[in-house]
């Protein structure tokens, strides 16, 4: 009887360990940023900044001038341009944006238009000052409806707030070529 009890205890211990392992939250889910969704007015307020999505426009091509040179970028998918209003709350900061597509894929801002004027990667936000900026993404068109714009302070956003701004229910206006002005 005693050996049987020992075997049962070992099996029970193994089972408990298995349950603990399978239900343990992963490192990434434990330390990811804390999602903050926009309020009824469309303003998402994080720990370090507040942001509002002013509008979305999609385009087959983007054009802009940089250092006296005209640049045109086309795509086999679509460009999505998000116009934003941002206010830093506590300190000067820069912001990173990701488009969380309808399929769950994460689209970073397009590096192909990194020199375009008034885009997020080149903008500093100062405490108490409202500023407008834009984020440009390159993505398949079906990632836009049901997607979300996710904003975090640049740097390590672990356990910091990530502001989620949902896309409007109506698809954004689409243009052949969108000119990005300063």
């Amino acid at each position: 009887m005693k050996p049987l009890a020992s075997v049962l205890i070992v099996l029970l211990g193994g089972g408990i360990l298995g349950v603990l392992m399978s239900t343990l939250p992963s490192y990434d889910s434990s330390l990811r940023p804390i999602a903050v969704h926009a309020d009824a007015k469309g303003v998402g307020q994080g720990r370090l900044f507040a942001a509002e999505l002013k509008g979305l426009t999609s385009a087959d091509a983007i054009s802009y001038a940089w250092a006296g040179t005209e640049t045109v970028r086309d795509t086999s998918a679509t460009f999505l341009v998000a116009e934003l209003s941002v206010t830093a709350l506590r300190k000067s900061l820069m912001i990173e944006a990701v488009w969380l597509g309808a399929t769950g894929r994460r689209y970073s801002q397009s590096a192909r238009v990194e020199n375009a004027p008034r885009t997020l990667p080149s903008t500093w936000f100062q405490p108490g000052l409202h500023d407008t900026t834009r984020a440009v993404f390159e993505l398949p068109e079906d990632e836009i409806p049901g997607g979300q714009l996710v904003l975090t302070a640049r740097g390590n956003a672990i356990l910091d707030s990530a502001v989620h701004l949902s896309a409007p229910a109506t698809p954004p206006q689409k243009r052949d070529t969108l000119r990005l002005e300063p």
Partner: protein
């Protein structure tokens, strides 16, 4: 002298034998796994033009291999470039700046014992170096090598390697990109572009 009951001695021997068998079995299995790993070399698949191959964190489908005359981009370049053109697709669920893994492992070119410099990868659409690859968007790219003066046209070998992804690593149970391993080899004779 204390006499131990025969039954107790048998019980003790049985427990010790059971533990010893377990230890020996664990050692034998671990040893055999290592032997098996060393015994069967992982044959790197040969690929042809038009066949997809994993590279870093993407999938590359080579479509053409040509020698193109162009101005040399370095002092010891001959003005000829070897261009491997194809389609590159992000194999992950997020935008990638490390298409060829991190640290970057670009395709390795070998031919006739010549040392080739590391290639540059261009996004054909912009005719500019490729900086980023978005999920679900296949892009036409060109992998371009400067060809040394001494090299004569002949068959070349391009070796591709891919980076292993592990959803929960052994240290933190964190999603990680780990080691590289060879994923395919392309042997072809480049065409000379007029």
């Amino acid at each position: 002298m204390v006499r131990r009951p025969l039954r107790s001695t048998f019980h003790q021997i049985r427990v010790q034998a059971f533990a010893a068998i377990g230890i020996v079995a664990a050692i034998a299995v671990a040893w055999w796994m290592k032997v098996e790993d060393a015994r069967a070399p992982h044959a790197v698949p040969q690929i042809a033009l038009g066949e997809p191959v994993k590279v870093g964190r993407a999938v590359f489908t080579p479509q053409s291999l040509v020698i193109r005359n162009a101005p040399p981009s370095s002092a010891n370049g001959s003005g000829r470039k070897l261009v491997l053109a194809g389609q590159l697709e992000n194999a992950t669920g997020e935008s990638q700046v490390a298409m060829f893994g991190f640290p970057e492992e670009l395709p390795a070119l070998s031919s006739g014992g010549t040392d080739f410099p590391a290639p540059t990868v261009y996004l054909d659409r912009d005719n500019a170096p490729l900086k980023q690859l978005q999920p679900r968007i296949r892009e036409a790219v060109s992998i371009v090598w400067d060809v040394p003066e001494s090299w004569r046209e002949q068959e070349v070998t391009v070796a591709f390697s891919t980076q292993q992804f592990k959803l929960r690593d052994n240290l933190y149970a964190k999603a990680s990109w780990l080691l590289f391993h060879p994923s395919g080899t392309l042997r072809a004779r480049p065409e000379v572009e007029p």
